[in-house]
Amino acid sequence: MRRKEKLIEAVMICCSFVTVLTTAGIILILTVETVKFFSEVSFIDFVTDTQWTPLFTEKHFGILPLLSGTLLTTTIAILFAVPLGLIIAVYLNEYASPLFTAFVKPVLEVLAAIPTVVYGFFALQFVTPLLQKIIPDLNGFNALSPGLVMGVMIIPYITSLSEDSLRAVPRSLREASYGMGATKFQTAFRVMVPAASSGIIVSVILAVSRALGETMIVAIAAGQEPKLTFNPKESVETITTYIVQVSMGDVPQDSLEFKTIFAAGLSLFVFTFILNNLSFWIRSRFQNKYT
């Protein structure tokens, strides 16, 4: 009996360790292949060269164009989604009737459940043609349209998490504000939002991390041209898109060209890893502020 109990516990520990092995595997694979990559390409070139052309005859290995593409689409998504998501959260929490909130929140969460390949199609086939009517010189593949659509995708993350943390603010704070004669607007932005700020910041960090790693929307609608530009009207390529492009092509798997996806992947992983840990730290540090 006792032995059976111990055995079962050991099996469960092994299952839990699969997740640790996954992380270890990701870090190990990315690092080992990246080290091999840097034995052939200088690190200085990697971070300073302004061209990324591993698949051409004249090869350049500068990550900056991929980085600028990634940052550009992410920035557009965040600039669009954060104000919108946060204002919707404040509205649902402070103004809307409970019935309205109960209807809107799950419907908004549908936006988060839609597969990203669908958003990619929507960006390319609907949003880009629509934007071209307003901005005539907009490229058929551009950073703006997938950026905005990515923003739509992350609105529910921001609204949901922010609304949860607004809801966790004790009633007494809100009532004290009303008691002083403050309007709902003043209560929301001078009392509630500051009180819920750690949760709101976490929601924004997670949204940034999500946007950085998003692949299909940009792969479909942003074009696949690595360009060092911050012009949202032009086509760009993100780190994620490049990884997909190379692994779908017929690049030999032992070549230097192929190793580039590990160096690119590691760059992406480092960014999201830092952001995820930052959000975890903020959450565990401030979550019990009012309890």
Binding site: M12, I26, Y95, I114, F121, K184, I220, V244, S247
Partner: protein, 287 residues
Amino acid sequence: MKSYSYTRAKLTDKVFKYIALSFTVFALGVLVVLLIDIFSKGIARINWDFFRNLPSRHAEKSGIMTALAGMLSLLFFTVIIALPIGILAGIYLQEYGKKNRLAKFIEINISNLAGVPSVIYGILGLTLFVRILKLGNSLIAGALTLSLLILPIIIVATREAIRAVPDSLREASYGVGATKWQTTSKVVFPFALGGILTGIILAVSRAIGETAPLLVIGALVYVPFIPEGPKDQFTTLPIQIFNWTSRPQAAFIVNAAAGIIVLLLITFLLNGLAIYTRNKWYKKIRY
């Protein structure tokens, strides 16, 4: 006397209220526009042949049979692999190792994994399963990759469901002399099952929509046969949609939209099912 600043504050309040309402309506409106756009583009292609036909160079003769079959087989293997591991890990972390350091470390690790971009899982799958374990770009390599991807979701859902089980039940079980595992498997687990099920359905819905990691491990965009075993090559519906979307001919765009309608119906059905199980379970645990 009402001061100037008071009326202004009132006005700001009113203006903000309507702006915020319009933002909310806008976000909901985008969803409506997306659905209308896709349905109007694709509904004409939805017919029996579309489900029955193989992919083809001719858009009108193209169908999603191999993509649907590939997707179902892929999900089957993914669930078989990820389910036992995820549930056992979740039970361990919540019920056994609640306070020890190892569990804390694993918890941080899982929250990290949940934030790793899916394309990175693709790189892991490509190196580990396709190349090192020499599984090739097969169904089983895809299923293993997706399993690792949805494992954090299943673990977190299992933990939350188990957390909702009242302590009185455990104590009653111990009181009649049951061991820890007996209590866990016969009392805690059945009680938490509804919550765990909800998490599993959501994880499956997530796996269905995944495209990038499968493209990275080498799932093919053109597969004219139905996979018959775990070592066969495969394609899935999102990959088929991606392939049709990237073609210049308008007829393929119609196919892509039709494929999306099918994909969305499956996704919404699963999410509805998840909400249904969750509500049913909530009612049960609040008896």
